[in-house]
């Protein structure tokens, strides 16, 4: 049983969002990098739990990124996972990235591929679906629960106004979100072990780039809050009705 977990490097959730070079580049100064929370808390931890239940499970991590991604992938290895692959490319294009992962997935013969439901920087929600298409596997998006018995996965996923439970026979691609697992903190043993786990660097395979970022913009600043006295609630209702036209 082989699981491939896709790992992405993102700015910390509290990072200040600013841009440089005439608003064409994300300003990386003073930014603390983390594993994309959806990749770490949900998909990676769930994979680790599956391995804890069944020692025959092996977990490979994959990231598409330049050498700056190595601390992130080491941290992921410290949480768990047997080995990691880094595809040496800094592309932002979902199709290019998915093609890299799909190429490794097709070679590696994975039974299960986990992604986070999106990255918290570009919010694309694209990679999981694309990998599934490029590997001709079923895709379950926005999973909130994942159970595995033999080669049958039982997955609960978010749908409009509720949830759907389905059985799927592996191989399978799943995008994970809250509910699938709980966040863990790496322990010292894991951190030490991660130093010697294999981290293979491969050059990207040929693939088209189908999109490119032209520029960034920050939203206009809020005008400032209009405070209403706590004993004058009807004034708030008037403002929401007449001024904001929100009720």
């Amino acid at each position: 049983m082989k699981i491939l977990v896709c790992i992405s490097k993102t700015p910390d959730t509290t990072a200040k969002i600013a841009f440089t070079d005439g608003n064409t580049k994300f300003d990386e100064a003073n930014v603390q990098w983390i594993i994309n929370p959806y990749d770490e808390w949900y998909s990676l931890v769930r994979a680790i739990e599956l391995k804890e239940k069944d020692a025959a499970v092996s977990i490979h991590l994959i990231t598409v990124g330049n050498a700056d991604s190595e601390p992130i992938i080491r941290k992921a290895l410290a949480l768990g996972g047997d080995e990691a692959i880094r595809v040496n490319s800094n592309s932002n294009d979902a199709y290019f990235i998915a093609t890299q992962i799909a190429s490794i997935a097709n070679e590696g013969g994975y039974d299960l591929i986990f992604t986070g439901k999106e990255t918290i920087d570009y919010n694309g929600s694209s990679i999981g679906g694309m990998i599934a298409e490029l590997t001709d596997a079923p895709f379950i998006s926005l999973a909130t629960k994942f159970e595995l018995v033999g080669t049958t996965a039982t997955i609960t996923r978010e749908i409009d106004g509720g949830e759907e439970v389905a059985d799927v026979i592996l191989p399978l691609v799943v995008s994970c979100q809250k509910g699938v697992a709980e966040q863990r903190i790496p322990n010292m043993r894991g951190i030490m072990a991660a130093r010697t786990k294999p981290l293979k660097v491969v050059e990207p395979t040929d693939a088209d780039t189908l999109s490119s970022i032209i520029s960034f913009e920050l939203p206009p600043a809020k005008a400032g809050v209009k405070l209403v006295a706590a004993d004058n609630v009807s004034e708030l209702v008037r403002l929401l009705h007449e001024e904001a036209k929100a009720i």
Binding site: G161, G162, V165, D208, S212, E217, S234, L236, A246
Partner: protein, 321 residues
């Protein structure tokens, strides 16, 4: 050459987010002087011809109940085939649950560039550039799609639906549906509740409400407003409320017309889930709560006193109009 819009349905009804996608796709078609058509999968009880009033002339339908559940693999195959058959160059989805499952998959199949989470019409003056939200609503990016076929998924509640005149013709699309590899065993819908991501108004509570037993005042307010209910992460983590109500960076991202935050301090991770809301009201007894900086209206006061008064005042206002 045309724009093809995926019309998402649930239990036979066309979703509100799809009406936005239709209006958006029809406006792109108008901008480029080409036709706008729709595609719908599965059995639908709504009158599809009436969707013509949102600007589409024709709707392709694969009327097969095997498609009543979303299987991204089957959907992608059929939609890609429809794109080829209809000669569409631009494919539009809503960036809702179905869009997140299907749009990127179709894009990969067609080798088409995708912008997911679009929030404005494309700029076609020089290439094809689409604005989207990034960094969980803290910024925007303008993305150029370089491929011949282009896929866009539109953020729900970011484009005004406009109904005009018009009737769409329905064309049965004769496509063989392969057996699904996904066996749906249960669907649990919370009946009577408004889906959080489709709600016009969201009323949300935080730790300031002190415990699940105090949620009554919030539920009363939500009921009066016809609002969906939500909560902050600590509230979800403490199981005061079901986790699907957790709004924030790692929970649900919402963009309603009105977001009312009660007893939520407004940590940056929470704001990341709500900052696309049009109007934000914050009720908090701590005047220093960071949420006030992101709010349009605020009341510094005790939620247990303010919220019931607010519910009563809204009831009164509604009675008078």
């Amino acid at each position: 050459m045309s724009v093809l819009i995926f019309i998402d349905q649930s239990d036979g009804h066309v979703k509100k987010s799809s009406l936005e996608a239709i209006t958006y796709g029809a406006d792109i078609a108008k901008q480029l002087g080409i036709a706008a058509e729709g595609i719908v999968l599965g059995t639908v009880s709504d009158d599809l011809t009436a969707l013509g009033k949102y600007g589409i002339s024709k709707i392709h339908q694969v009327n097969n109940n095997a498609l009543d559940h979303v299987d991204a693999q089957l959907y992608a195959k059929i939609i890609a085939e429809a794109v080829t058959l209809s000669g569409a160059k631009i494919l539009v989805f809503s960036h809702n649950q179905t869009g997140k499952a299907v749009a990127a998959r179709v894009a990969a199949r067609l080798k088409a560039g995708i912008v997911s989470g679009a929030c404005a019409l494309p700029d076609t003056s020089n290439g094809f550039v689409v604005k989207k939200t990034v960094f969980s609503g803290k910024a925007f990016a303008n993305i150029s799609i370089l491929s011949d076929i282009k896929v866009i998924s539109l953020n729900p509640n970011s484009y005004q639906t406009i109904a005009g005149e018009g009737i769409a013709t329905i064309a049965d699309l004769n496509i063989t549906v392969a057996p699904s590899r996904i066996k749906v065993t249960a669907i649990n819908k919370v009946s009577g509740e408004i889906p959080l991501t489709e709600a016009d108004i969201v009323v949300s509570g935080g730790r300031g409400l002190k415990g699940p037993e105090n949620w009554g005042i919030l539920l009363d307010l939500a009921k009066e407003l016809g609002a969906a209910t939500a909560c902050s992460r600590p509230v979800g983590d403490a199981h005061w409320r079901p986790h699907h109500e957790h709004v924030g960076q790692t929970g649900v991202q919402v963009a309603p017309n009105l977001y009312i935050a009660i007893g939520i301090s407004g940590a940056i991770q929470h704001l990341a889930g709500v900052n696309r809301s049009k109007v934000i009201v914050v009720i908090n007894k701590d005047a220093e709560a960071p949420f006030f900086k992101a709010a349009d209206y605020g009341i510094v006061g005790d939620a247990f006193e303010v919220v019931p008064q607010l519910t009563a005042a809204i009831k009164k206002m509604k009675a008078s109009v």
